[in-house]
């Protein structure tokens, strides 16, 4: 006899609800991806079509574009729930705040990180990355984009109550993204120049574990402050 549902049940219900809501507004999912593609396209146009140059810059360009597009989609994480008051209800519900945050983060990653991961190889081909480097790029994005969602959740939770939180959000979140950028781009760079990328990928994995254990807790505390 258990009155309150288990943590995983709640997690599943929340994710299903958010995915369903997102599917009703498909443009919101597509926009950050289109942004990602356009930003990557801008670089060859700005730098010239020289294959060697593009190949050299590709890891950094792809990772910076991924970072920016992940950041752009962050605001949607709590915004509509905050507007219609359901965020308050979610925080009043018996499950701990970090479960709510974790559900939101997972949804955000499924809608922004995962499509980005699938789209990246195509763009990497445009920039003449070698096949080995593309494999490492996907591995680094798989480990790195969840970290972006997790750290981003803290920033959104802090700014959700503010009327013009957008620019402020980027100011708060981008400096915290720097280690992910360094390790992610470093891994691809190492693979592209024929070196082992294992160390960089391990560091990304460590960042993922650390942010997975701390970020939902911090974002939950921040949400409670913002909603108050």
């Amino acid at each position: 006899m258990n009155a309150t549902p288990g943590v995983f049940a709640v997690l599943g219900v929340l994710i299903r609800r958010d995915l369903l809501l997102a599917l009703r507004r498909r443009a919101q999912i597509l926009n950050p991806l289109v942004f990602f593609v356009i930003v990557v396209t801008l670089f060859p146009l700005g730098l010239g079509p020289e294959p060697n140059l593009l190949q050299k810059l590709a890891p950094g360009v792809l990772w910076v574009a991924a970072l920016l597009s992940a950041m752009l989609s962050l605001e949607a994480m709590f915004h509509s729930d905050f507007e219609d008051g359901s965020l308050e209800q979610l925080l009043l519900a018996p499950q701990p705040a970090f479960v709510t945050v974790l559900a939101k983060v997972l949804t955000h990653w499924l809608l922004s990180g995962l499509p980005l991961l699938l789209l990246a190889p195509l763009l990497a081909l445009w920039l003449h990355l070698s096949p080995e480097a593309i494999v490492v790029l996907m591995a680094s994005l798989a480990l790195g984009t969840p970290v972006l969602s997790l750290i981003g959740a803290i920033g959104v939770a802090l700014t959700v109550g503010l009327r013009r939180g957008g620019v402020l959000l980027s100011l708060l979140v981008l400096p915290l993204y720097i280690p992910v950028l360094i390790m992610g781009a470093g891994a691809v760079d190492a693979a592209a120049s024929g070196l082992a990328a294992g160390a960089h990928l391990s560091m990304l994995g460590a960042l993922l574990l650390l942010s997975l254990s701390l970020a939902p807790w911090a974002a939950g505390a921040a949400l409670r402050i913002s909603v108050e």
Partner: protein, 260 residues
């Protein structure tokens, strides 16, 4: 200890005590920095390799130490304010941020001036320079968040979360940037070991302590101002202002009293 902490946390008590400490701290700051500057700029020898440019170190290194120290102190004060609801801790965290940002900026500017003759470039994407720049971004983010909220209490609590998250991140950023690129000279000062000659070490240490005290002086001044501003509707501040008015222009206020 808790009784003491809460007593010290009350704005009025803090205002009284800090007023008594302030002249001493301020005097010590002036003395240490003056002596340190004299020793550093005139009495110490020029470096055999870097010649007179080495004297930039006496400003650069203490402000770099301060920039990191203040971030830690700010995060600690913010955490204390968040956990135990102590007003003074909130204020200390809030007023520390601009001071810390200034020291960070000073570090970057003096480092840049030092880099030009030494490395032949104003700016180099070296690990320490870069992490100092990122530290400046963290300060700016904190200040921006702090000023984005209307309500003081919410501002203090939200930015406290950010400061703590930042403090967890600072070492990670530091090491990842270090791994990424390093040109800066290695640390010369460790615990118990020193690669600097005493004639240069002494002015450096004096300046380091002087800069710490300079921070404490500015912190006390700004915190006292913030306390007065936030508590302006409380009885003790009104009495204080009344007293000050009596002291500065006795005739004027007395006649006001008589009219009433």
């Amino acid at each position: 200890m808790w009784v003491w902490l809460h007593k010290f946390g009350s704005p009025k008590y803090f205002y009284d005590v800090s007023g008594k400490i302030l002249p001493w701290v301020g005097g010590a700051t002036a003395l240490l920095i003056l002596v340190g500057l004299y020793l550093g700029l005139f009495a110490s020898p020029a470096d055999y390799q870097q010649r007179d440019t080495v004297r930039i170190m006496y400003i650069h290194v203490p402000s770099a130490w301060n920039s990191m120290f203040i971030y830690l102190l700010m995060a600690t004060a913010a955490a204390i304010g968040l956990i135990w609801n102590i007003k003074i801790a909130d204020i200390v965290a809030a007023v520390s941020a601009p001071i810390g940002a200034s020291f960070t900026l000073l570090t970057l500017i003096t480092g840049s001036l030092w880099g030009k003759p030494m490395w032949g470039t104003w700016w180099e994407w070296d690990a320490r320079l870069t992490s100092e720049l990122i530290l400046l971004f963290l300060y700016l983010g904190y200040i921006a968040l702090q000023s984005a909220f209307e309500d003081r209490r919410t501002a203090a609590r939200a930015s406290a979360v950010l400061a703590i998250v930042g403090a967890v991140n600072v070492p990670i950023i530091y090491y990842s940037v270090q791994w990424w690129n390093t040109l800066h000279q290695p640390q010369s000062l460790g615990v118990g070991t020193s690669a600097i000659h005493p004639s240069m070490l002494w002015p450096l240490l004096l300046m380091a302590i002087g800069f710490k005290l300079l921070y404490v002086t500015i912190l006390l001044l700004r915190t006292r101002a913030a306390v007065l501003e936030r508590e302006r509707n409380s009885v003790w501040v009104q009495e204080l202002v009344q007293d000050m008015a009596v002291k500065s222009a006795p005739g004027l206020t007395r006649s006001n009293h008589e009219q009433r």
